[in-house]
């Protein structure tokens, strides 16, 4: 595989994640979207692209979307109304759908919950070598789950070596 572009959150000068329309409560989805957008923009220029072949989306996160999960659990435990918007972001595929629609990406869509970037790279290699995708955008994102931690993510756009 060859690395076409790379991005991260935070990068020097970053302070606050931009809001992501349609998503609420949690920083997880803005974290994934901003890091992915940076990476894709560095290779392709600004979205939308039109057809660029089959780009797979692979998200790896051990934390998952802690913010959304805790918001749902808190509302249920307290007997409060669960905000309907949380339904749409209750799994990690949602933000991948946002990216796929924004960038017109039609490759496989995968979400993994363990192993970080190394497992994601192995998955990307499997998809590329098996001819299931032309490019892979791999995002590894971890949301802060305790005081003293901070959200962080990397994104890398990968192509076959040949």
């Amino acid at each position: 595989m060859v690395e076409l572009a790379r991005a991260a959150w935070p990068e020097p000068g970053d302070t606050e994640l931009p809001r992501l329309a349609g998503f609420t409560v949690s920083s997880f989805n803005p974290l994934v979207a901003e890091t992915a957008d940076r990476c894709l923009t560095r290779w392709h220029g600004a979205a939308p692209l039109g057809a660029v072949g089959r780009t797979a989306l692979v998200l790896v996160s051990s934390s998952g979307d802690v913010g959304t999960a805790r918001a749902i659990a808190g509302a249920v435990a307290d007997g409060r109304r669960v905000p309907p918007l949380l339904f749409f972001q209750s799994n990690p595929n949602a933000v991948l759908g946002h990216l796929a629609a924004r960038w017109l990406l039609t490759g496989p869509v995968l979400a993994l919950g363990s192993g970080g970037e190394p497992v994601g790279l192995a998955e990307a290699e499997l998809l590329l070598s098996g001819g299931e995708a032309d490019l892979v955008l791999l995002v590894a994102a971890e949301q802060a789950t305790a005081d003293g931690e901070s959200d962080h993510a990397t994104a890398v756009l990968l192509a076959p070596a040949h």
């Binding site: 797979a56 996160s61 051990s62 749409f88 799994n91 595929n93 796929a100 039609t106 869509v109």
Partner: protein, 332 residues
């Protein structure tokens, strides 16, 4: 290089039956029915049971689970018990079929001899509440895939493990062969399916092409069929794109109408049912049928089981994010 055959050599399943939910309080919910097992089973314990039944034997484990904080102690416990750190798949309703596709790809490429794929979801209050809030659950209490009057899905328990091994089958005890797999994205929306069905159609064609199987050789399709008004219509459009004129001859059922929607585990339960259908030679009915819907022009199996008339079976799944998968199953 010729691909190595991918055999299913072990299978263990736990699933539920439809009834009013008693496992937790649903008095504040619009929907009240799910397909549950008796009592309040423990997900980690049931996963350990099904993994023991198929035998981990030091094989890598690919595990589909809802990706929240409750998953970590489960995976840590399984790792300690079986000595294998599972690779976890969290991609909603295609999590388990994605794991199967990865396992099949690894075996077919000669990179693994044996893998175990497992998945688990037990109906619990948080997901029930957020799906109810999102108006995704059937308020009539009946899951009616592709039918007139369908009004949403019903959740269901499923804990499943499946062993996959490199063939050939000669002299081996195998239940089925995974002959093809395909996956593709819609590139359309955060959570709504592309109404054209193009993404799922590409996943289906990829699975058929990989196996070298024509549309006429598919004897039954276990559909995603969640009972969602827009989801089932998009799936019907996808099947029309993938099968063309052959679609009229293809028997279609969604077995979610019998066992509910087990989210991250749903695709593995549906693959297990599909393997059973292959063994029995009988195609199950699509329950909950009230009558045809113009948006779902399919050959739905409605009155009684049918005899399987062609040797390949296809099971398909779609998820939020426009993720689509297709798995093709044949005799070993």
């Amino acid at each position: 290089m010729t691909a190595v055959p991918v055999l299913v050599t072990g299978l263990a399943v736990r699933s539920g039956t439809f009834a009013p939910v008693t496992r937790f309080d649903v008095s504040n919910r619009q929907a009240v029915v799910a397909a549950t097992q008796p009592g309040d089973p423990d997900l980690a314990g049931q996963l350990a049971e099904v993994l023991t039944e198929v035998g981990v034997q030091g094989s890598p484990v690919l595990l589909a689970l809802h990706g929240d904080e409750r998953a970590r102690p489960i995976t840590a416990g399984l790792a300690a018990r079986f000595g294998v750190d599972p690779r976890v798949y969290t991609g909603a309703c295609v999590a388990a079929s994605t794991a199967v596709a990865d396992a099949a790809a690894l075996i077919a490429a000669g990179r693994a001899e044996r893998l175990v794929v497992a998945a688990g979801y037990l109906v619990e209050p948080d997901t029930f509440a957020v799906f109810d809030a999102g108006r995704a659950l059937s308020r009539s209490g009946v899951l009616r895939p592709f039918s007139r009057g369908r009004d949403g899905l019903l959740l269901g328990d499923a804990v499943v493990a499946l062993a996959l091994e490199a063939g050939p089958a000669a002299g081996r005890s195998a239940l089925a062969r995974i002959t093809g797999w395909g996956r593709a994205g819609d590139g359309y929306h955060v959570c709504r399916p592309d109404p054209s069905g193009a993404g799922l159609a590409r996943a289906i064609r990829a699975a058929l092409d990989r196996a070298g199987v024509g549309a006429a050789q598919v004897g039954w399709l276990n559909a995603n069929g969640t009972g969602s008004p827009i989801g089932d219509a998009a799936e019907a459009a996808a099947l029309a794109l993938a099968f063309g004129e052959q679609l009229a001859e293809l028997p279609v059922s969604s077995t979610k109408s019998l066992h509910g929607h087990a989210l991250e585990a749903s695709a593995l339960l549906e693959l297990a049912v599909t393997i059973d259908v292959l063994a029995e030679g009988k195609v199950p009915v699509n329950a909950g049928w009230l009558g045809p819907d113009e948006q779902c022009r399919l050959n739905v199996v409605v009155d009684a089981p049918r005899t399987l008339a062609a040797p390949h079976l296809l099971t398909v799944n779609s998820a939020f994010g426009g993720a689509n998968t297709a798995l093709l199953v044949g005799a070993p």
